[in-house]
């Protein structure tokens, strides 16, 4: 029986970049920035994923049919319960300010990061300063 490392079970496999050049280009130029944006937004709202070193929630995956899809990290029960509480907090905040979720037709993502590409830093890097030796 085949075993998949995807949280979605059979039919999903982590993306293997050893494919054609065209596919790699597609991932780098198109899909990766979107996954990055998704992770940025998820971390903003949910905090970093407790199961990954970099805090990312989503990753690029591929089906057996060759379609690119978004995979989400598996969570332990403990982390899953924390996430559930976090969703409840968010619901309360949204309910309080009476924010209507925009419909998909209204939602306009910021095109800037995708256009700027590798230079679109999502954080301000620390400045290198003099090392003071004691």
């Amino acid at each position: 029986m085949s075993h998949s490392s995807s949280p979605f079970g059979d039919g999903f496999e982590p993306f293997n970049p050893s494919q054609s050049i065209e596919e790699i280009e597609k991932v780098v130029l198109d899909l990766e920035p979107k996954i990055r944006d998704l992770n940025r937004h998820m971390i903003d709202v949910l905090g970093p994923c407790p199961e990954t070193e970099n805090g990312n929630w989503a990753y690029l995956a591929r089906t057996e049919d060759g379609d690119f899809v978004i995979g989400f990290e598996q969570l332990s029960f403990k982390s899953g319960m924390k996430l559930s509480n976090r969703f409840l907090d968010i619901y309360r905040v949204l309910d309080e300010v009476d924010v209507a979720a925009p419909s998909s037709s209204q939602y306009q993502p910021d095109l800037g990061p995708a256009i700027v590409g590798d230079a679109a830093l999502s954080f301000v890097p620390a400045t290198h300063v003099r090392v003071v030796r004691k």
């Binding site: 800037g112 256009i115 700027v116 830093l121 301000v124 890097p125 620390a126 400045t127």
Partner: protein, 401 residues
């Protein structure tokens, strides 16, 4: 005694290629406005592990990306612009150079493959700020009307060369601020106009084909952008991105470079600072503004409580006027009675007028921008009229019906 560059070297080292150094050097040279001897270039790690060189000078920021190495540090290393220039001569053709930090000497050191060294003092009191990020999203924007133009570099070079062609015979002492460009993205064209009429020359317009999304017209000071574009390879495409009418910046982005340029209006750049200065000379401080853009209006306070506005307006004949405004009353209905009272007030005012706009009654003093040297007179006219109109908010509603 010769210095020991290697002792106490940092545990990180960045291997830099000649090509990226050249790209950075040409870009910095193109946009450097020579106003600050302490200019620095930031070296840091971008998304996807790319190496990122960033240079900002007043209204313009440019970046160059290069392939990074896994060992590249993720902090932002400040490198004096002078050092980058020196590295170009220092590095052997075809080879690279190692850059690291000497912790005892507090110097940034470069080591060539033939065993030569150069070092420079680590810049002091510098900090990588939010403004140094290449992309600054606009939190005020709903991103609903972005405009993007994909244009070949050969066509973008046409734009750059066009911008850098100056009419001859212009007295630059008289016209110290050169024209801004009006850049338009629309209908699969990238178009631009340079208006030299103020310098007694003509307007010139150019357009090149582009794959466009959305439409927009924006103005900015174009000369450093043009010079930077001319340093780039011409066999690729570039994107121009402006995120709607309220965008602060225009972005010009190539495969391994980018430029962020602040959008501003020429008449504001010509007059705003002079108006602020002349108001200060008569004891009026305008409130600070948050945007990096030159504001189209500013607020100030008179009589400790009256909030007033000063704004600049360009007319079709290119003359610019300064307008001092006070909102006398709001939520005023448009009735014959109200207009009758406004007319009566105007009959008694000299050099000022009261008018209705939307549901507000406003007092305005307006004069040609050249008249700011008589600011004391204009402010006196304004304050005198304001005193005369002081009770309008109480009696005007009586004429609402």
């Amino acid at each position: 005694m010769t210095p020991d560059f290697e002792s106490h070297s940092s545990d990180w080292c960045v291997r830099v290629t000649v090509r990226e150094l050249l790209e950075v050097h040409l870009t910095v040279n193109a946009i450097n406005q020579k106003v600050n001897p302490g200019h620095i270039v930031w070296l840091t790690k971008g998304e996807n592990g790319k190496r990122l060189w960033i240079y900002r000078d007043r209204t313009i920021l440019a970046w160059v990306t290069a392939d990074g190495e896994a060992t590249d540090p993720s902090f932002a290393l400040p490198i004096p612009e002078l050092f980058v220039e020196e590295l170009i001569d220092f590095v052997d053709a075809g080879n690279g150079v190692d850059i690291f930090y000497n912790e005892v000497d507090d110097t940034i050191v470069a080591r060539s493959d033939n065993g030569s060294y150069i070092a420079i003092d680590h810049p002091k009191n510098v900090k990588f700020e939010t403004q140094d990020l290449p992309y600054l999203g606009n939190s005020q924007s709903d991103h609903s009307a972005p405009a993007v133009a994909m244009v070949s570099m050969s066509n973008l070079v046409q734009f750059a060369k066009f911008v850098l062609k100056y009419p001859s015979g212009v007295n630059w002492n008289e016209h110290h601020l050169m024209p801004f460009v009006a850049l338009a993205i629309e209908n699969d064209m990238l178009a631009w106009t340079m208006d030299w009429r103020r310098q007694k020359a003509a307007r010139m317009t150019g357009a090149v084909p582009a794959a466009t999304t959305g439409s927009i017209t924006a103005t900015f000071y174009p000369y450093h952008v043009a010079q930077a574009i001319l340093t780039k390879d011409r066999d690729e495409d570039a994107k121009i991105f402006i995120d709607g009418e309220n965008a602060e910046y225009a972005y010009f982005v190539g495969p391994d470079w980018g430029i962020r340029m602040l959008l501003d209006a020429e008449h504001l750049a010509r007059w705003n600072h002079k108006v602020v200065r002349e108001l200060k000379n008569v004891g009026i401080e305008v409130d600070n503004w948050k945007s990096r853009q030159i504001p189209s209006f500013m607020t100030f306070t008179l009589n400790d409580s009256d909030t007033c506005y000063v704004s600049l307006h360009e007319l079709e004949d290119m003359t610019v006027t300064v307008r001092l405004t006070a909102v006398l009353s709001s939520d005023v209905p448009e009735t014959l009675g109200v207009y009758g009272e406004i007319n009566k007030l105007n009959d008694s005012l000299v050099g000022a007028r009261v008018s209705m706009r939307d549901d507000e009654v406003r007092l305005v003093v307006e004069f040609p921008a050249e008249g700011i040297t008589n600011m004391a007179v204009h402010v006196h006219t304004f304050t005198k009229a304001l005193t005369k109109c002081k009770d309008i908010h109480t009696f005007l509603p009586l004429f609402a019906d």
